[in-house]
């Protein structure tokens, strides 16, 4: 089973890259890859529960994230350093996550067969 990590470092609704990467993650899971998500930088805002993209005419990212465990994507990681910078209350996250420092992220990445990102 190939391992794929999707690194999300862009905020929701700035462009379509986050939703499009989540689509890729779901397809990879359907193709029997072991998929994990890593949220870092501005990407953390995607995890907030109180989102509503209806006025934008888009899908709400937090709702898409809620569907991830249905696709067997339940390994969801958050950069611990970013969390401290952003001062986000983790009770507001839509899913249970695991916090990783930079060294642990590097270890996890080195175990992957492929890493995909939302871009810079």
């Amino acid at each position: 089973m190939k391992k794929l990590m999707c690194v999300i470092n862009q905020p929701p609704y700035a462009n379509s890259h986050v939703l499009e990467l989540l689509e890729t993650a779901m397809v990879a899971a359907v193709f029997d890859m072991q998929v994990s998500l890593l949220f870092c930088g501005e990407g953390l805002w995607n995890l907030l529960q109180k989102q509503n993209a209806d006025p934008l005419g888009q899908r709400t990212v937090s709702k898409v994230l809620l569907a991830m465990p249905d696709y067997d994507v339940s390994a969801i990681y958050v950069c611990a350093d970013t969390l401290q910078d952003k001062q986000i209350d983790t009770d507001e996250f839509v899913l249970p996550v695991t916090f990783l420092n930079k060294a642990a992220q590097a270890d996890l990445m080195s175990e992957q067969d492929a890493v995909m990102g939302t871009g810079t």
Partner: protein, 130 residues
């Protein structure tokens, strides 16, 4: 080694295509294999058939076509990303009753499954963000 390359940036708006081409040409010249080039996000615009390149500017799309011809590389465009950006082939033109097909015939419209299949078949997956 077998490589799959993904491009995320539109030609002329981003240097993603330029960097990806250099990388692809280099890996092929060193005897590696290129399984598939996958154009995602705004990079689907690479496949547009109506582009007029200003004099003195590089014809980046022609370089992709040359690469395909020389090395039989598959140039794959994400169909979901392409349709919503107006990049359609003749069968999609007919399906949605649009006035013209806008995709160069050298490019193929494929699903995301083709990206995942390519990643699974390759030793290395390299992405060129916008």
């Amino acid at each position: 080694m077998i490589f799959t390359v993904a491009v995320h940036g539109a030609p002329y708006a981003s240097f993603a295509s330029h960097h990806a081409l250099g990388f692809c040409e280099s890996l092929l010249s060193q005897g590696h294999q290129l399984h598939r080039v996958f154009f995602y996000h705004e990079a689907v615009l690479t496949g547009l058939n109506a582009r007029v390149v200003p004099q003195g500017e590089e014809n980046i799309v022609q370089r992709w076509l040359d690469l395909k011809q020389e090395h039989t590389v598959e140039l794959a465009i994400c169909i979901a990303n392409a349709l919503k950006r107006g990049v359609i082939n003749e069968s999609e033109q007919a399906r949605y009753s649009k006035p013209a097909a806008t995709l160069l015939s050298e490019f193929e419209l494929v699903g995301l499954g083709q990206l995942i299949e390519a990643v699974a078949q390759s030793d290395r997956y390299v992405e060129f963000p916008a």
